[in-house]
Symmetry: C2
Subunit: 333 residues, 2 copies
């Protein structure tokens, strides 16, 4: 492969292959602790008796305003959630904004208001930024890169699952991806589908405070299917999911069926997949459900010895859940 | 003004106005220490008895390979230098890469090699990243956002100048901007002009170790003219520059004259403007000159009571150096 293609940026197996063949060659890849080589949600650098967690994400979503959020809210939520997935309280974030010439100043102000509102929900701050403007023939829509730091006592990894653990998902699956695609295609389904875009640190903190969390990952590009496979593979375990337990909204399911897209393979922007010790599972679930963004949390499966991700279907069969090649549509986050 | 224009991203007064009317409205703007409201080279967050410095920059330069560097080297240098300007040892950096579909895999590998090489020069690491791919009709050239953290004992500010201080520039002025423009326009001037793109932490550290540095800023977009004005304004002092002392390469001057561009108003990518206590000036200058990227360092002026930036000309007159509206050409960094 001598050219970069869209699927290389879609969060699935093909992106892992691009990263493996290019970025994995970087030798200066670790500052102590968890570095680039881990390909986790962020890096963790030991500092005193704590860890500084550092993460980054570029947001290229189109349209920039969508039901349930906008690129500003998304940019903060994405970074807050990546920090949270490493067990870190979000502290300070950055925005690198790249704007096409002629962009509406009012829209920019709306985006910045959303940034501020999302920060306020989790007590984080935007502490520095950068602004670039490109000719309109060079760029078609605003892009926002966000980086952030958080503080963790002990970083939580995506590789920490053990046989016997229980898998919790903090809410309904596929809302963001399916709503964006439906909105973009102009589909109407009675109720308007909405993105789940939200900064979920408070939900994650409630789970962490119980003390039984072994692994976390947020199912953005490539969706829950991708995240379960990464967690199973990195933890050297098998995950067994119950199809009946999967929380998928009826309208999301209907839209996904019509679009021919599996809700398990599309991005979520306000959810976490959390591995928990079995003896703490009920208490952790209750703590999560008691938070604003955790009301629909459920246990969806368990961890066993072995490899891969298996789903027990409603009709009593079972099938592999494969990691998708990538999110089925571009510019969803 | 209801639309964003190119000059809003050009690093001068118009960009300050955009930032002032939009980003300055963010209320969640400080995590303790130096926050967004300071509009410094980065933020500084107290942690134990040190400061975590956090900074970000998006790199949109075109062409991506240029004499003296490429977008990969630039992305690391820009962030390392912003950390250095805050007095912070660069520790851990991120790369958010946005790639147009069809981009050459070999070029991507070359860029990543440059990233690694620049990191190695200052002992920093790339610890996490993000990759997005956009359709080629949406984006014309690769973009890289870099964020980074460093550790400072005490942050150095751009507002710390005091009357009596001496102003040092760590090397020749205008090399990056003038070489990029010349290269883009296909001009030849006998010798090939080269960007000064470099990570200058070791040079800055040599200055800091002497103990007399009062303020620093790197003259990127908007050049030395912009930086001197920002430092004078934020420090509530006047800066007096000697034209005769300004280190400008003969070929840069010739090209700048031909292009009708002032080398003082274009971006540098491997330089610092440093304020130093007068009693430490000679020792600091000697320490800087003893480093790889500081050989052409000189004292260019002094700080007095008053406001603004004055240049004493070679012929014995004097004139104001105004902050430029912006860098004269787009996509120079």
């Amino acid at each position: 492969m001598d050219k970069v293609s869209l699927i290389h940026g879609a969060g699935g197996e093909m992106m892992q292959s691009l990263i493996g063949s290019v970025f994995a060659n970087i030798k200066n890849n670790n500052a102590g602790g968890v570095g680039l080589e881990a390909l986790d949600d962020g890096a963790a650098i030991p500092f005193g008796d704590k860890y500084i967690v550092l993460t980054t994400d570029s947001h290229v979503i189109k349209p920039i305003f969508f039901p349930g959020g906008d690129i500003g809210r998304l940019s903060i939520s994405g970074t807050v959630n990546d920090l949270a997935m490493m067990g870190a309280r979000p502290v300070a974030l950055t925005n690198g904004v790249i704007i096409p010439e002629g962009f509406s100043m009012d829209d920019l102000k709306k985006i910045v208001e959303s940034v501020d509102e999302a920060l306020g929900e989790v007590g984080a701050a935007l502490v520095t930024g950068d602004t670039k403007v490109l000719p309109k023939e060079a760029l078609d829509s605003i892009l926002i890169n966000t980086a952030g730091i958080g503080i963790a006592d002990t970083p939580i990894r995506d590789s920490g699952l053990n046989p016997g653990d229980v898998i919790i998902v903090t809410g309904t699956i596929g809302d963001h991806g399916i709503s964006i695609i439906s909105h973009r295609e102009g589909f109407k389904f009675g109720t308007e589908l909405r993105s789940d875009c939200a900064p979920i640190w408070n939900t994650v903190k409630a789970a962490l405070d119980v003390g039984g969390v072994t692994a976390m990952k947020d199912p953005t590009r490539g969706g829950v299917a991708n995240v379960l496979n990464e967690m199973a593979s990195k933890s050297h375990v098998k995950i067994v999911i119950e199809e009946e337990a999967l929380p998928i909204r009826q309208d999301v399911k209907a839209a996904a069926d019509m679009l021919g897209i599996d809700p398990m393979e599309v991005a979520n922007e306000g959810k976490a997949v959390i591995g928990v010790r079995a003896d703490k599972a009920d208490e952790t679930l209750a703590a999560i459900k008691n938070t604003k963004y955790g009301k629909d949390a459920v246990i969806i499966g368990t961890v066993t010895e072995g490899k891969g991700v298996i789903m027990k279907t409603k009709i009593g069969g079972q099938r592999f859940i494969e990691p998708p090649l990538g999110d089925p549509v571009p510019r969803v986050c």
